[in-house]
Amino acid sequence: MTQTSTDLHDLTVAQLATLLRQRKVSAVEAARHFLTRATAYKHLGAFLGVSEDVTLAQASAADARLATGATGALLGVPLAHKDIFVTRDFVSTAGSKMLDGYRSPFDATVVSRLAEAGAVTLGKLNCDEFAMGSANENSAFGPVKNPWDSSRTPGGSSGGSAAAVAARLTPAATGTDTGGSIRQPAAFCGITGIKPTYGRASRYGMVAFASSLDQAGPLARTAEDCAILLGAMCGPDPDRDSTSLDVPTEDFSLKLGDSIDGLRIGIPAEFFGEGLADDVRASVNAALKQYELLGAKLVPISLPRTELSIPVYYIIAPAEASSNLSRFDGVKFGHRAAQYTNLTDMYLQTRAEGFGDEVKRRIMIGTYVLSHGYYDAYYLQAQKIRRMIADDFQQAFTQCDVIAGPVAPTVAWQLGGHGNDPLADYLADIFTLPASLAGLPGMSLPVGFGAGNMPVGLQLIGNHLTEARLLNVAHRFQQATDWHIARPQGV
């Protein structure tokens, strides 16, 4: 098999890694190919930062290792990182004016782990400011466009990651998911993404939004690729992240080929209520039928507090954010206002100028729910219902092995479609928030097309630490169908 550089971008991570190992293509050729594409598709707004010299130096180093016969799951494979991960060699902005031009003194653990596995960094990908958003419209550096229809959102907050993978500007990308920020953009862009169990991947060097929810994961075209990437990203980081789980690194590819005959798939009634658009419902139901053909059994279950997960999440996440974002004070790093009268005014002006509207709203909500007299009624009450939501899942998992349903109530909406109504974005997160609150792994895989020929995603949720099973369930579907192979026009 010979490859020309023109179709490198059609290869999956697994295929590209094989060609690199066989030395049929060099890491430098691959890197150059994708850098050229990143430039050609600049109008999508997916990339925030590229540094050709850095990328090519990493690629040359990978080629040198390949020449010695070294192997590594990702040796020479180009990837790009959501700009929420700090990187020593690329500017790290978190999509915020506050960190415009910021250079981190260190790499995030996820970044260094992928580099150790041999991956070559193509650059940094656009995202909602501090990962707060569902449409990638909250980036200080402009929105990202959906490669399937450039008038629509790619989803958020990992919108740049999803758009770049869908447009074949990178074989795969990292993302983070606090309330759905990997799963929802993966669904909106017709690709595959997984948020592992909370604590699987180190949060060291992930610019913090909501510390009890933030989790890193990969976005790629196939479940097989997600398994390869996830294995490289996860693992204990005991010295640097106290929330990193003490569970050994796992080969998530091991169970990919397992049969799913007899698999019990829980179908939560609350995910199929009135709010679900007909086109999404039709594609999700067709996917569930496909699973029945593959031998799975559909089991009706209930997640009775699904709707409550919206207020619960939008109390807890802003509370944690208001605390985390207090570090942006114009002193140690980042933006400082030019005009101020004294220290307090310097804080006020710096934060007024550096933060965008959505970030300010969440800081205000968080400050309120943590303030004296309101803490019990809001924050503590939200944490109590959070436990009830987590318990609901454990109840459900006595009846099923995995849970399936839609990722989002609709396909990707028009950029600007939610206007000046932040609540509309919050409500659209309804199906991804419950698993986030419970710390459960969840993934999205493409299962069809809805209105406007926009992709529809199926969400799979598993119990804690069952990522290998989830990936197996997704992989079996992708072996039997070709939704994940579909590509946007003009790409």
């Binding site: 310097m346 400050t367 009450q381």
Partner: protein, 99 residues
């Protein structure tokens, strides 16, 4: 119960956010819209439920741990101060706080 412009001012000050008048008015409306959906949550009976601060609490026998309290990072003052807005002699500069 709804938030008033005075509440917004108090919160903005606590959060050290300098809001412009137009921003303040918009924030007041948007936060009140948001707390409209929160009311449902407040009505839930949570008697006897222990708050869940962290998902690791519901992962079987997993626990959050602490590392030994020893310095394990090298001193990288220069690298750490590279992105600071104002530095002098290795110190972060802030506006004068003591007259």
């Amino acid at each position: 119960m709804s938030l008033t412009p005075a509440d917004i001012d108090r919160l903005a000050h606590l959060a050290r956010l300098g809001l412009k008048p137009a921003e303040r008015a918009r924030m007041c409306t948007q936060l009140n819209d948001f707390f409209g959906i929160v009311e449902k949550m407040r009505a839930v009976d949570t008697t006897g439920i222990v708050p869940l601060a962290h998902p690791v609490d519901v992962m079987g026998n997993m626990a959050l741990r602490l590392r030994d309290d020893v310095a394990n990072e090298p001193n990288q003052r220069e690298a750490n101060q590279r992105s600071a807005p104002a530095v002098e002699d290795g110190l972060f500069l802030v506006p004068k706080v003591i007259e």
